[in-house]
Amino acid sequence: MRFLKEYSFLWFLIFLAIVIPFIRNAFVLHLLIMVFTSVSLGLAWNIVGGYAGQLSFGHAAFYGIGGYTSTLLFVKLGVSPWFGMFAGGVLALGASLVLGIPCFRLRGTYFTLSTIAFAEVLRILAVYFRDLTGGSIGIVLQFTEGFGNFMFRNREPYTFIALGFMATCYYLCLWIENSRLGYYLTAIKENEDGARALGIDTYRTKLIALMISAFLTALVGSFFAQYLTFIEPESEFSLGLSIAITLPVMIGGIGTAMGPVIGAFIITPLQELLRIYISGEQQGLQNIIYGIVLVVVVICIPQGIYQWVKGGFSQKG
């Protein structure tokens, strides 16, 4: 059964890889990029928020560190974003320790609030040090095509890179799910004191989960900064972004590798299409619908769409 699931996702990836070169429509490619990145972010968040049950509303911090590191290295020092991306990942890994070492002593809501504070401080600093970061105005990346610059004239390469991110995150999550680390994390989510009593170093385990999660989130942040060629504090570090990262997971199903995939494939195209069809005059409407979807899902199927569908089938079978 599990192998079937693994292979079905692999077939799905192969299908996408074959189809993408034939897509000529720039908007469809943009849509796919958006979906793949939200899946990747959701999966990365899920490692801490889902498997370990440590609700983080501060993942924008890692995303922003990724975006700012690669962009600043490229703009100020001319370092290729391919390296900048991993530099951002490593920096986010360090930041995850700055957040995790003190704050994983806190539990539940206290931890959640401290993650919000962490991202907010970074946002404020990004606005404040305007000589470095361009302040609230942000930084625009000059478009100069080239593989080394991580800039491409059409969207196809971006789509493939995003697909690669999604595949990596998915299989990493699947591996975690079935590894010792995954079982530890689940134990922590179910009962932290119980897990400790059984000899699990819960503090260290949570830290490892956060480090992996932060690293992946930062890579996606760098990628997306390159894709948009523009960053500013509000879109990189805001609480709104942190919450947006969690929504596909919440809608699809928390604590599963498939949940964020399903959630993002449903909610992200919906949001992008609404953004197109509801033009500037009626700003806010697409997010109202987004909020309504969230509330309805939370009330009707709190376990998420994936578990709900799976439960429905196994009941019939």
Partner: protein, 289 residues
């Protein structure tokens, strides 16, 4: 120099009164239900807009509109609890938090959609009136808002301390199963508490309007401060939230002057994290349980 310190102290304390009231609403709901209401800021935003529109359309003075806005927000809070959060009590902590996140998204964007991103202000004849105090000046509407906020807070204390319903709320906060065994209808207490917590931001919204402006995301600014205050005072601790609010008001005024107006938020967030780390029960010791 002394004058600047005094002036910062005064304006900090006056603003702190409002922060205290917003935070008391949040901490009350958290203390009783163990739910952080992420839509608390948007409730405040709604209260501010209600005050604005009542002034704009009917020329009702912001201080007078307290009498309408407060019950309206009370009602909104009870409805939220009765028809939304109540259903999710069994479903677990995550779902409750995300339900309030959903409400907050809907409300903030509905405000953007219907009322646009413009900053709305109430222009009263007394808006820039000041009270001279030696070398310093005290903003008259801010002083009134502060006094009303403190009066409401004291009333709330008396209510919690001396009425049956107040005792039932405190009992439920301490141990909801115990309270239930003693014959308290805890579902009703939940509904009432959510209403009461929301009524607090109803009052705060009306009190803010004479000196502040309403815009769709105004709630975020205040709810972030309320998180800090609530942790500072100890989560669920109403007295703690009062002093926490005043402290953060003063810290904000001082760091805005002595460090940088742009960094004042960073300063109280750093304080927030330090408190979480070294005194997670809050500066004032005992939290509930």
């Amino acid at each position: 120099m002394l004058m600047i310190i005094g002036q910062s102290l005064i304006s900090g304390i006056l603003m702190g009164g409002i922060y205290a009231l917003v935070s008391i609403g949040l901490t009350l709901i958290f203390g009783v239900m163990n739910v952080v209401n992420f839509a608390h800021g948007e409730f405040l935003m709604l209260a501010m807009y209600l005050t604005f529109w009542m002034f704009h359309i009917f020329q009702i003075d912001p201080y007078l509109s307290l009498l309408i806005v407060t019950p309206a927000l009370f009602l909104l809070g009870t409805l939220t609890q009765r028809y939304l959060i109540q259903h999710l009590i069994e479903a677990g902590h995550y779902t409750q938090i995300f339900a309030t996140v959903g409400i907050s998204t809907i409300m903030a964007n509905a405000a953007l959609f219907f009322w646009k991103a413009d900053y709305r202000m109430v222009k009263t004849p007394y808006m820039s009136a000041t009270l001279p105090l030696g070398d310093m000046v005290v903003s008259y509407p801010r002083l009134i808002s502060f006094l009303v906020a403190i009066a409401i807070t004291l009333l709330l204390f008396l209510f919690l301390k001396h009425t049956y319903l107040g005792r039932a709320i405190r009992a439920t906060a301490q141990d909801h199963i115990g309270a239930k065994l003693m014959g308290v209808n805890i579902h009703r207490v939940y509904i009432f508490t959510f209403g009461l917590g929301s009524a607090c931001v109803g009052v705060a919204g009306a009190l803010l309007m004479p000196t502040y402006y309403a815009f769709p995301t105004v709630g975020l600014h205040f709810v972030l401060i309320a998180f800090v205050v609530v942790v500072l005072g100890g989560m669920g601790n109403v007295t703690g939230a009062l002093f926490g609010g005043l402290i953060i008001g003063v810290v904000e005024a001082f760091s805005g002057f002595f460090i940088s107006p742009q960094l004042k938020e960073a300063v109280y967030f750093v304080i927030f994290v330090l408190v979480l780390l070294f005194k997670p029960a809050g500066l004032f010791g005992l939290t509930k349980g």
